[in-house]
């Protein structure tokens, strides 16, 4: 059973297009995230949602719009794709709570290439 699954795994698209990445977790976690990993492997948080509510928006351009229909899903829609958006996007989830230690479970990533 895949704990955090995201689709598609690979995505090649042209500049200016709009694309979406879907994410689902079956861990029963309350919190979900999108992280971006650039070509130098630097991992940076983009968004965090808790029970469908946006908690963190880490100065991400408005072209990126997350949507959480329920606490098990967090999708990422990207408008007007730019070359610099090429990266690996990781969905992740974690249990809620101050003692949770923020153990974050990552999906396998979605490789986005903008040409």
């Amino acid at each position: 059973d895949t704990a955090v699954s995201q689709t598609p795994k690979y995505l090649v698209t042209q500049m200016g297009n709009d694309k979406s990445i879907k994410c689902e977790q079956n861990l029963g976690h309350d919190t979900m995230y999108w992280y971006k990993q650039d070509s130098k492997k630097f991992l940076k948080i983009m968004f965090s949602y808790n029970n469908k509510e946006l908690i963190i928006n880490e100065t991400v351009p408005n072209r990126f719009s997350p949507k959480s229909p329920d606490k098990a899903h967090l999708n990422l829609h990207i408008n007007s794709l730019e070359l610099g958006d090429s990266a690996v996007y990781f969905c992740a989830s974690s249990p809620l709570g101050p003692l949770s230690g923020n153990t974050i479970y990552f999906g396998e990533g979605s490789w986005l290439t903008v040409v």
Binding site: I56, T103, G109
Partner: protein
């Protein structure tokens, strides 16, 4: 502003060696320090984590050493194996209620290669 600084960027050791990866942090409010391991084509996975009330934590061949006064922590891999070859990330976060509970700040990663 990079809140968690990790070094070295890459590391090559022979099988059986003890690679050491170091991290330093700036924010004294951080109170949870995990290490994540990432294999090519996969997402990062939690390896081991420590809180600042202890100076060392061991899990199998992996040990975290923590120096609160120096604001530094490190990962040691005993008897390293070729299967340990991966990218290792240190991270830090602030547990407790509020928005800060919801994110990890990662170091830039260390690519470890363990030669047979």
């Amino acid at each position: 502003q990079q809140q968690v600084k990790q070094s070295p960027q890459s590391l090559i050791v022979q099988k059986g060696g003890i690679p050491i990866i170091n991290c330093a942090y700036e924010n004294t409010a951080f109170d949870y320090f995990p290490w994540y391991q990432q294999f090519p084509g996969k997402g990062p996975a939690l390896l081991i984590a420590i809180r600042p009330d202890v100076s060392e934590k061991k899990e199998g061949r992996f040990t975290i050493s923590f120096n609160k006064s120096a604001k530094q922590f490190s990962l040691h891999i005993m008897d390293s194996q070729p299967g340990d070859s991966a990218t290792y990330f240190c991270a830090a976060s602030i547990t407790g209620s509020g928005g800060s509970n919801y994110k990890l700040t990662f170091g830039k990663g260390t690519l470890l290669t363990v030669n047979p």
